[in-house]
Symmetry: C2
Subunit: 133 residues, 2 copies
Amino acid sequence: MNDYTTILREHNLKATPQRLEMTNALFMNGHVTIERLYELMLKKFSSISLATIYKNINLMLEASFIEEVKLPNAKSVYELTKETHSHLLCSKCDKVQDIVLNLTDVTRRASNAANFNISKTDLVLSGLCENCS
Amino acid sequence: MNDYTTILREHNLKATPQRLEMTNALFMNGHVTIERLYELMLKKFSSISLATIYKNINLMLEASFIEEVKLPNAKSVYELTKETHSHLLCSKCDKVQDIVLNLTDVTRRASNAANFNISKTDLVLSGLCENCS
DNA sequence: AACTTAAAGGATAATTATTATCTTTTAATA
DNA sequence: TATTAAAAGATAATAATTATCCTTTAAGTT
């Protein structure tokens, strides 16, 4: 029984082989689209149904076990939930990477300016990564 | 010939009545989903095709005349292109509002930390608006 | 270890969202 | 007003996602 078995069960999700492999694929690949995840899963479960992918993605989202990252001009990717962070998107190679940024100043300013009670920030910074620029 | 007639033509888009009404709907409503835009358009053009909406949305996006805003846990909304800005999303009433924030400090820090050449930032701050909190 | 059962998987139909195709209409220009 | 490329409308086709239904299985119980 590895780490994810426990974590899945803590979220009231049965630790099936398919789910363990999904979490493994997310862990190994970081940020994956639905179609990429399906491809990855097919390597291990040659007859897995796409419906299983979707059902598990949705259950894992509800359980906050994973998160969806909406990207400009690209399909959403999914990642394991971790410390709050922002994302960098390379517009050339399409790689997505995490970056931990202190946004307290920005949210404070926004909160004051608009009288808004901010509880979550979604930030995607697009440009060229180290390799592509 | 109003403002939008000129602007549409400057983007090499014919100023059709349907397009003028689309821009008007975006101007009056600020941020609208595809389905809401379709509803609004049907009031003025009872036989407008949904395909026309999609085609024009895509042409206007290509011309940078409008922009798509991807929101967490919600469908995308579209807005007329204006000064660079961020968005506030109320998680109770679902209203979206614009906010101009200086993000140079954040982007500079991110750029330095990750060796990234940042050209665009997409920021959505979620929480409770003045009315809902 | 076998038994029970609610939950999950697989196959696939159904639904929703978006794009493509084709014919008719029209905005823009001469 | 005549011409024409582009746009609109109708609808078919495709893509993305969800629902249904039957079979299998994880996980707890005896």
